[in-house]
């Protein structure tokens, strides 16, 4: 019975939040990982971001529903931070629509995994490396510091800000039906397209950046490129067991000792 009424509620077009409330939630989303920890992960951040919307529940901040919702939403939750807006919006909509707590709990549990994996693949493993490589390519081509930084920050944050705003909007609009939005072709095919572009960009950017780092005269350029290719293959082959920065640290320590002590 309660489930049926909740489903009926979801068929009603969602009432938009006041602009001020939407903005408060959106700004708080930038700090969603503020208290990230190994026990509740993003949980407290979700409640923190959603709190302005929960003030609209019957009784306001002094009401029982407000406290129950805060308590429910401050528990364990995991998602990619840029996609946390989807969860915040959808869960806020569910709370405001009076969806039964048990259904909210089940939805909350089901939502975390997909929001984590979609975000990790699209942002951390595709968009961020692509933007880094674009900046490295610009550096290698001789761009000045301000231009390199502008290329990186502008490109990256167009995607970043769009995802945060889109996530909150789609979550608030769709509520418990937000899974439809996660099946969007951009989210499904995006990592593949961005990854392909990044692979091509990497091939261009790495030699350009290395060339500029070597400096004028390109001393030992051929040897460096060969060493980099050989090292890259080795690292890719055995990289699962060895992190590149740790390997670099070990090599640098030995090199510095050799150069200082001899």
């Amino acid at each position: 019975m309660t489930t049926g009424s909740a489903l009926d509620t979801r068929k009603v077009p969602a009432a938009p939040l006041p602009v001020g409330t939407w903005m408060r939630i959106f700004i708080r989303l930038f700090a969603v990982q503020g208290s990230w920890n190994y026990e509740t992960l993003l949980g407290n951040g979700i409640a923190f971001c959603m709190e302005p919307a929960l003030r609209l529940l019957p009784g306001g901040r002094a009401g029982g529903k407000y406290c129950e919702a805060i308590g429910r939403q401050a528990r364990y939750f995991n998602a990619h931070p840029y996609f946390a807006g989807v969860a915040v919006g959808a869960l806020a909509r569910a709370e405001l629509d009076g969806v039964p707590p048990a259904m909210i709990e089940r939805f909350r549990t089901a939502l975390g995994g997909p929001l984590g994996s979609v975000g990790d693949r699209l942002v951390w493993a595709s968009w961020l490396p692509l933007c880094s490589l674009l900046a490295l390519g610009a550096f290698g081509y001789g761009a000045r510091p301000l231009l390199v930084i502008a290329i990186f920050l502008t490109t990256y944050n167009v995607g970043h800000l769009f995802l945060r705003a889109w996530g909150l909007r789609v979550g608030l609009n769709k509520g418990l039906r937000v899974a439809d939005a996660l099946a969007h072709p951009v989210l499904r095919r995006g990592p593949q397209v961005v990854g392909s572009t990044a692979a091509l960009t990497a091939g261009i950017a790495i030699p350009l950046a290395a060339s500029r780092l070597i400096g004028g005269g390109r001393f030992l350029a051929a040897e460096i490129i060969l060493a980099a290719m050989f090292g890259g293959v080795l690292f890719a082959r055995f990289g699962g067991r060895l992190e590149g920065w740790r390997m670099s640290l070990a090599i640098l320590v030995l090199f510095v000792l050799f150069s200082v002590i001899r």
Binding site: A31, G34, F48, G203, P207, V233
Partner: protein
Amino acid sequence: MIFLDILPIVILGAVLGMDVVTFPQAMISRPIVAATAAGAFIGNAPAGLVMGAILELLALEMLPFGASRYPEWGSASVVGGALYAARWEDRPGALAVSLLAALVTAMVSGWSMVKLRRLNASRAAALRDRLDSGSADAVIGLQLFGLTADLFRGGAVTFVAMLVFTPLVPALVARWATDERYSRAAVVAVVAAVASGAVWKIFHSVSNARLLFVAGLVIGAILVVAR
């Protein structure tokens, strides 16, 4: 170097260290941005950019997935960029020693992030009853505590690193006995190898990625030769 000399760098390290995880994750903490900004603070942005590009090549490999442990590049890049930009740009060994300082800082700063996460967890456990009963004050308080602690963490790491490495880097550079060109070549070879391997690993599941990477290498090589 007195405290006031490194104060702007410490503030920059604190703010950019915070960007890595807690606020606002706009990637102003990426090495190519953070080290360049630190170089600009010292008055030598191009030197900061060189350090930033080197660290960015290394950072390509590290994907900040959820609970995984990784070096913290924000504060570390500020330290590396500031040290390299300070006044040793053209001296043999300055690049290698400043990079070593940045990597050690990244390692220590990554460790400090783990400690902060544990501190946040114990704080959340202490507030568990209030959080379960729906106290908004507890939720907001915990969030503000985490944000403030992270700002302090980044600042403290940067301060200690600058305190240790500001005298240590010139001391090591003064005793440097390897030719500058070989020193630079060694650094570039290592970071380019790590970056190539990282790209290979990250995009191995993308169809045709290896072909595209090789095609890119050909284009890149042509551009290098043509310039």
